[in-house]
Amino acid sequence: MSTSNFVLFLVSGGLAIVGAIGTVASRKPLRAAVALLLHIIALAALYLTLHAELLAALQLLVYAGAIVVLFVFVIMLIGPAAEVPSNPRGKITRLLSLVVGGSVMATVSFALVGHTAPRLPMLRNEAGENIFGTVEGMGVAIYQQALVPFELVSAALLVAIIGAIAIARSRTPQEQAVVVERQAERIELAAARDAELAQATAKVGS
C-alpha cells in the first residue's frame, strides 16, 4: 500500500472517529447530525482506500444525502423539544455502560490491530480489466448473484416507507379520543394497582 493510502487512512479514520464521538456526545441533536455527516464523509473516503469506489459514492448519496437530511428534517419538525435536558438519574448505569463499551472496544481493537493478511489478486472481467469495487463489478454482483436479496431489500424499503407513514401520520380526532381514553384507563389502572399494593403493605405492616 502506498503512503498516500496510509495518509488517507489516517486522516479519514481519524475524522470518522471524531465524527462518531461528536455524534454521540453532542448535547444538541443538530450538532450531532452535523458530526454524523462528517463521520459519513470520512468513511466514504476510507472506502476509497479499500477499492470500494461505488460504495463510497452510495455512502455519500444515501447516508449524507438521505438519512442525515431526514434526521435534520425531523429535528426541525420537533423544534426545541428535540433537545433532552440532562438528567442526573441513572448516572451509575451510564458509567457502567461506558466502562463495558469502552473495554469491549479496547480489547477487540487491541486484539485486531497489527494483523495483516496477504493481498490476493482482484476480480477482473473478461477483457482483463480490474473491476473490483467498480460499478461494473458491483452491478454484476448485485444483479446477477444477489438478485433475490436485492428484490427483497426493495420490498423491505417499500414496507418501511408505508410503515413510516402509518406510524407518523397525524390521528383523526376520533382516534385521538380513543388514545386519550386508553391513556386515562392505563393511568387509572396503575393508580388502582398502587392503591392495592399500599393496602397490602399496610396490612402486612399491621
Binding site: 472517529i17 454521540v24 434526521f71 425531523v74 485486531l112
Partner: protein, 102 residues
C-alpha cells in the same frame, strides 16, 4: 508504514464501541438513532475491509450495500417512531416510555 486488515478492523471496532456507548448512555431518541447509524457504519467498514483482502468476489461490498439500504429503512421507521413518540409525550426522551412493558 503499511496499513493491514487489522487496522481497519480495529478502527471498525472503535467506531462500533463509540456507537454502542452512545446508544447506552444517551437518553435522546434522535441521538440514539444516530448512534445506531454509527454502529451500522462500523460494520460496513469491517465488511468492506474483509472484502479487500478476499477480492475475488464482491460479497462484503454487496453486503455493505444491503446494510446501507436497510439502514435507510431503519432510519425512516425510527424517525417515524420519534415523531409518534413526540406527539404522545411532547418529548423524545427514552426513559419515559415504558408502556410496552405491560
Amino acid at each position: 508504514m503499511d496499513v493491514g486488515i487489522g487496522e481497519y478492523l480495529a478502527l471498525a471496532s472503535i467506531l462500533f464501541g463509540i456507537g454502542a456507548m452512545g446508544f447506552l448512555t444517551r437518553r435522546n431518541f434522535l441521538i440514539q438513532l444516530m448512534s445506531i447509524e454509527v454502529m451500522l457504519n462500523s460494520v460496513n467498514v469491517m465488511l468492506v475491509a474483509f472484502n479487500r483482502y478476499q477480492p475475488s468476489n464482491h460479497d462484503g461490498q454487496v453486503f455493505a450495500f444491503f446494510v446501507i439500504a436497510i439502514a435507510a429503512a431503519e432510519a425512516a421507521v425510527g424517525l417515524a417512531i420519534v415523531i409518534s413518540l413526540f406527539r404522545l409525550q411532547k418529548s423524545v426522551e427514552t426513559d419515559l416510555p415504558s408502556a410496552l412493558k405491560h
